[in-house]
Symmetry: C2
Subunit: 214 residues, 2 copies
C-alpha cells in the first residue's frame, strides 16, 4: 500500500473503470504481496477501497472470483503478445522474444510473470484453471506458428514444421519464465542467446545473412 508498491502496479489503470475492475486490481495486488497461498478474501478486501462483503455481491464466492481473475489475467497476457504489426516475420519473431524474455525486465513485468507462474501451478489440481491454460497455451503457440508460416511464405525461413517449432520455443519461453520467477539465478540471458542461435541455424533460410538478426 506504500508509494513504491503502487507504482509497481502501474501495469493496471490507476483508476479502474468500475467496481469489478477494482476488484480485479485488488486481487492482483493481494496476489503479488502475499502469494497465491496467502490470497484470502480478507487480503483482497484490504487492497480494495470498499468492504470485503461487497465481493460476494459481485461474485458467487472465492472460487468464482478467482476463476474470473484468471480469465482477466490471461486476456491481458494475450493482448500484449506482438501481432502482425511488423514489417516481416523476422521482426515479429524478434519482438515476441524481446517481449517474453526481455533483456532487463521492468519490475512490473517480472511481478506479472511471477503471478502467472503461481496461477498456472493451480491448474495441476483445478479443472477450470487447467481449461483456461490449455486454451491460452494453444493461443500462444498458434500465434508463434503463424509467424513461422509467414516467414516460410516470405522465403525468410526454411520449410520447417511450424507447429513443432512453436511447441518447442513456447516451452522454452515458459521454462525460462518459470525459472526467473522461482530461482535466484539469471540464466535467461543464456536461454535468449541460445534461442537466437537456434533460430539462426534451424529456422533462417541460407540466403539470409544471419548478422541482420538482432
Amino acid at each position: 500500500m506504500n508509494v513504491q508498491s503502487v507504482s509497481s502496479y502501474a501495469f493496471f489503470d490507476d483508476e479502474p473503470a468500475d467496481t469489478r475492475a477494482a476488484i480485479m486490481q485488488a486481487t492482483y495486488r493481494a496476489l503479488c504481496e502475499h502469494g497465491y497461498a496467502g490470497l484470502t478474501i480478507q487480503r483482497i478486501g484490504d487492497e480494495f477501497p470498499k468492504s470485503k462483503s461487497l465481493l460476494y455481491h459481485h461474485y458467487d464466492g472465492k472460487d468464482a472470483l478467482l476463476v474470473e481473475f484468471l480469465s482477466f489475467m490471461l486476456r491481458r497476457f494475450e493482448a500484449t503478445i506482438p501481432d502482425r504489426e511488423y514489417e516481416d516475420a523476422r521482426d515479429q519473431l524478434t519482438a515476441i522474444f524481446d517481449h517474453t524474455l526481455p533483456r532487463d525486465p521492468a519490475p512490473e513485468r517480472a511481478q506479472f510473470r511471477a503471478a502467472m507462474v503461481e496461477l498456472r501451478a493451480q491448474a495441476t489440481t483445478n479443472r477450470a484453471y487447467r481449461t483456461h491454460f490449455t486454451r491460452n497455451d494453444r493461443f500462444f503457440r498458434e500465434r508463434f506458428a503463424a509467424v513461422v508460416r509467414r516467414g516460410i511464405e516470405e522465403g525468410v525461413f526454411r520449410e520447417v514444421d511450424p507447429d513443432r517449432v512453436a511447441a518447442m520455443v513456447v516451452a522454452t519461453i515458459h521454462g525460462a519464465m518459470q525459472e526467473e520467477a522461482t530461482t535466484n539465478g539469471a540464466e535467461s540471458a543464456h536461454v535468449r542467446e541460445e534461442l537466437r542461435a537456434y533460430v539462426r541455424s534451424q529456422l533462417l533460410a541460407e540466403n539470409v545473412t544471419p548478422e541482420t538478426i538482432g
Copy 2:
C-alpha cells in the same frame, strides 16, 4: 487410500524405514491427492498410520516439515537423473531426454512432476523454497553441461558453449514438464522431436551420422 492410488505411489518404498520417512511419504500422498493449496496437517495425518500430533514431535511445525519435504523431493529428483553410466555422451544425452520427457510417462512419474510444479510455484514467495530450487536447477544444468563437455572432448559434439546449451535445454525441459502438468494438451511429443532436431543441427559434429541418434 484405495488399491489404485497406493500402487501409483510405488515410487516410494512401500514400508518406510522410520517414522520420518513415513511422514515424507504421507506428505507426498496428501500433496498428490489434494494439491498444495489443500495440503494441511490434518490431511497429512490422515495419510499416515499414527496420529497427527506426532508430526509436531518430529518437526517444528508445518513450515519446517514442508521445507524438509522439499529437500526430500529434490534429492529424489537429483538421484534419478542419468549420470555417467553410459558409453558415450550421445547415449547419456538420449538417456536424459528419455528420462525427463518420456514418450509415454508412467502415471507415477506424471504425478511426481505435477507435485514438483506445485512445489516450485511456492518459490515465487517462499525464500527457503527459492534457495532449494536455485541449487537444484544449477545441479541439473551442470550435469547436462558436463555431458556436452564430454561430447566435445570425445569429438561427437561441436565446440559449442556448454553452459549456454545447458541453460536452454533445461529451460525447455522444465517448460514442457510444466505444460504437461498444467494443461490438457499433448505437445511434449513435438517438443521432444524438435529438441532432437536442435541437437542434430546444433550440437552434433558434422562427421557423425545423425541417423544413429534415436
